[in-house]
């Protein structure tokens, strides 16, 4: 049984300019002990779907889904009190900005201890022992002396380790890491990713890794879900995805990796992710797609089968060739007009 099962999740935000759909019909499952990566540019709704799961979205958000099950519990209908018993214990999350994600007024020891007190009811002595154990587990040197330090006295990398220690304090079944390395130095990034992978192996928890870094995906994930403008456009096991991307967006992302570049100049995807006011008709990727035809502009695509990586595309790629595509003559030159 999957630990997490989301089907047809949509999140709408109430804004001054009307409703804005940040997540649009996303489905995903995570098996116990699996590492699933969600990839996409900024604004593709990666974080929002996971924040919806955690119940951390502001009141302006409306969440709709056919199914949102975690560990046999329906997160859509669960009362807030019940959800709080799960969140932070079996379902934990770490964030992008470790420096601002810890409370500046309390020591790191206290902040980790709080989780142990609230969820496990440990007494003071047990909390202290477990906190030291956790800090050692996440690789913080001389852990016992670090208990009384404040977040501002430590580096970003150390703070992210504290965040991880706090998240794994109650041995969660699923850990969501929302771009955990984006705010960190490159050398520290690798350490934090190694730490997450190591903890995942040792504890057997499932891990959802949100990132926009394909390199991170290749190194850590088992399965990849690619999101674009709030929609899931492709999902494949990691090796298959890198070998044969089925959606033109995935293919374009991969060809933009420096280690895969064939030309002197790195290829890029023209344009930006559509926002609230410039949502295109038909396929949302059509204004930026190299294979766009009349049909793409007129009609929204449907999700393809497993063989085509669940690609949300009229002409899913197969070994780089668009299947069923009418040929180069039918490609619209939308990039110039855009």
């Amino acid at each position: 049984m999957p630990i997490l099962e989301i089907s047809n999740l949509s999140v709408d935000f109430r804004t001054v300019g009307g409703q804005f759909r940040a997540v649009d019909g996303v489905s995903m499952t995570v098996e116990p002990g699996e590492i699933v990566s969600i990839v996409g540019e900024s604004g593709s709704g990666k974080s929002v779907s996971m924040l919806a799961l955690m119940g951390l979205l502001p009141w302006t958000a409306t969440i709709t889904a056919d199914k949102m099950m975690f560990d046999g519990k329906d997160l859509l209908t669960i009362p807030a009190r019940e959800r709080r018993r799960i969140v932070g214990k079996d379902l934990a999350m770490i964030f992008q900005e470790p420096m601002s994600s810890l409370n500046p007024c309390y020591t790191v020891g206290w902040q980790i201890g709080e989780v142990l007190k609230v969820h496990l009811g440990l007494d003071k002595r047990a909390r202290r022992d477990r906190t030291v154990e956790l800090l050692e587990l996440v690789g913080i040197p001389s852990a016992a002396e670090r208990l009384d330090t404040y977040p501002h006295q430590m580096s970003g990398g150390m703070n992210q380790r504290v965040m991880i220690a706090m998240a794994i304090a109650c041995n969660p079944k699923l850990l969501i890491a929302d771009e955990p390395t984006t705010a960190l130095d490159v050398t520290i990034q690798a350490q934090i990713l190694d730490l997450l992978a190591k903890l995942q192996r040792e504890t057997g928890m499932a891990l959802v890794l949100i990132t926009h870094d394909m390199g991170v995906v290749a190194e850590t994930a088992n399965r990849v879900s690619v999101q674009y403008a709030g929609q899931k456009v492709e999902e494949q096991p990691v090796s298959e995805l890198f070998a044969d991307p089925h959606h033109p967006y995935t293919a374009a992302l991969l060809s933009a990796l420096p280690e895969r570049a064939t030309t002197r100049r790195l290829p890029s995807i023209p344009g930006v992710v559509p926002g609230q006011y410039d949502r295109p008709s038909g396929c949302l990727f059509s204004p930026r797609c190299a294979f766009v035809t009349e049909r793409c502009v007129e009609k929204a695509p449907v999700t393809q089968g497993q063989a085509a990586g669940y690609a949300l595309c009229h002409y899913p790629l197969n070994q780089g060739k668009p299947v069923g595509h009418p040929g180069p003559a039918a490609i619209l030159d939308r990039r110039l007009s855009a």
């Binding site: 709080r84 007024c105 006295q153």
Partner: protein
């Protein structure tokens, strides 16, 4: 921390000089002089006038008067009142407990109501409570303090008869002064009803003096709280599965209080200014009323000495507030 206190004490020196200058010259800008006012309506012969002016040293050039006053001041001599012939220092600290008692109650009143009101307004943003509380705060802040006092007296003392009009305690009670604080002294006296009488005399002045600080604190708490509630660490606290109450009371409030404490410190000066009006209206025998009386009598030494002493107290309170700030905010504490 010790170095910090020393540095702050060093900063007091220029402020002290500035205040003594202002106190000396501004009271002399007022028309009239103490001797003329002592003489009263019937007037005084020019010879007698010159003699008295000479006795108080007011016939000397201004700069000479200032040097005498300032050298006395740095030696701790605040001068002698012209009208009562008592040392200013003794007179000031005889009356100061009354002002301190009133100010303390006003601050407590403002904090106890203002902080929770601000927190609730921020948490229930845009609710009817938020709108009502903030509109009320705006009215409270904008209202002339003497008008508000008179209004309360008319309603609660005049029409309803619930509270006394003026003074610190009913004339029925007489007991020795021990601490100078009426609430404590009335309890110590052991006389039945004395404490109740002291409390009932305090209610209206406390509300009047505490209204502006209350409004400022409520608004400041609300905006600080709103800012803090949007911080990443609040999201973390929610992600830990904490109850909404714990998120607000433990994680948000302490951070939000940091700017609020500064505001409270700044309100102490406002309170001293407010005390002058409040004490005059309620005949509260504190330094505010004493200052007003001294100004009317052109009692130069009393006004000068009183102003300098008030300034020193305000500066001292602000120093304490800054130290408190460090206690709440670990970032500041470690910078020192």
């Amino acid at each position: 921390m010790f170095g910090f206190i020393l540095r702050r004490l060093g900063l007091l020196i220029p402020t002290f000089i500035g205040v003594s200058l202002v106190a000396f010259f501004f009271i002399r800008l007022l028309p009239g002089d103490p001797v003329l006012l002592l003489a009263g309506e019937r007037g005084i012969s020019p010879e007698r006038y010159a003699e008295l002016m000479h006795r108080f040293g007011f016939d000397l050039p201004l700069w000479q008067q200032f040097i005498t006053y300032f050298t006395d001041l740095v030696q701790g001599d605040f001068g002698t009142s012209i009208s009562t012939k008592k040392p200013i220092f003794t007179e000031f600290f005889t009356l100061f407990p009354a002002t301190l008692e009133l100010s303390f109650c006003a601050v407590i009143f403002a904090v106890v109501l203002g902080v929770p009101a601000g927190v609730i307004a921020a948490v229930k943003r845009n609710s009817w409570f938020d709108h009502t509380a903030m509109a009320t705060a705006l009215v409270g802040y904008s209202m002339p303090i003497f008008w508000w006092a008179l209004l309360l007296i008319i309603v609660f003392s005049g029409m309803l008869g619930w509270t006394p009009v003026s003074g610190r305690i009913s004339l029925m009670f007489f007991f020795p002064k021990v601490t100078g604080f009426m609430l404590i002294d009335s309890l110590l006296s052991g006389k039945a009803g004395a404490f109740q009488s002291a409390v009932s005399h305090l209610i209206l002045p406390t509300i009047v003096l505490g209204t502006i600080p209350l409004a400022v604190i409520a608004r400041q708490t609300r905006s600080a709280m709103l800012e803090v509630l949007g911080e990443d660490y609040i999201r973390t606290a929610k992600a830990k599965g904490l109850s909404p109450f714990r998120v607000v009371a433990v994680h948000a409030l302490r951070n939000a209080l940091i700017p609020v404490i500064t505001t409270i410190g700044l309100q102490i000066g406002v309170l001293m200014a407010g005390a002058i009006l409040t004490e005059t209206i309620f005949s509260w025998p504190g330094i505010g009323k004493w200052m007003v009386d001294s100004i009317f009598r052109r009692d130069y030494p009393a006004v000068q000495g009183g102003l300098v002493l008030i300034a020193l107290i305000v500066m001292g309170v602000n120093l304490v507030v800054d130290m408190l700030y460090g206690l709440v905010n670990p970032k500041i504490r470690h910078q020192r």
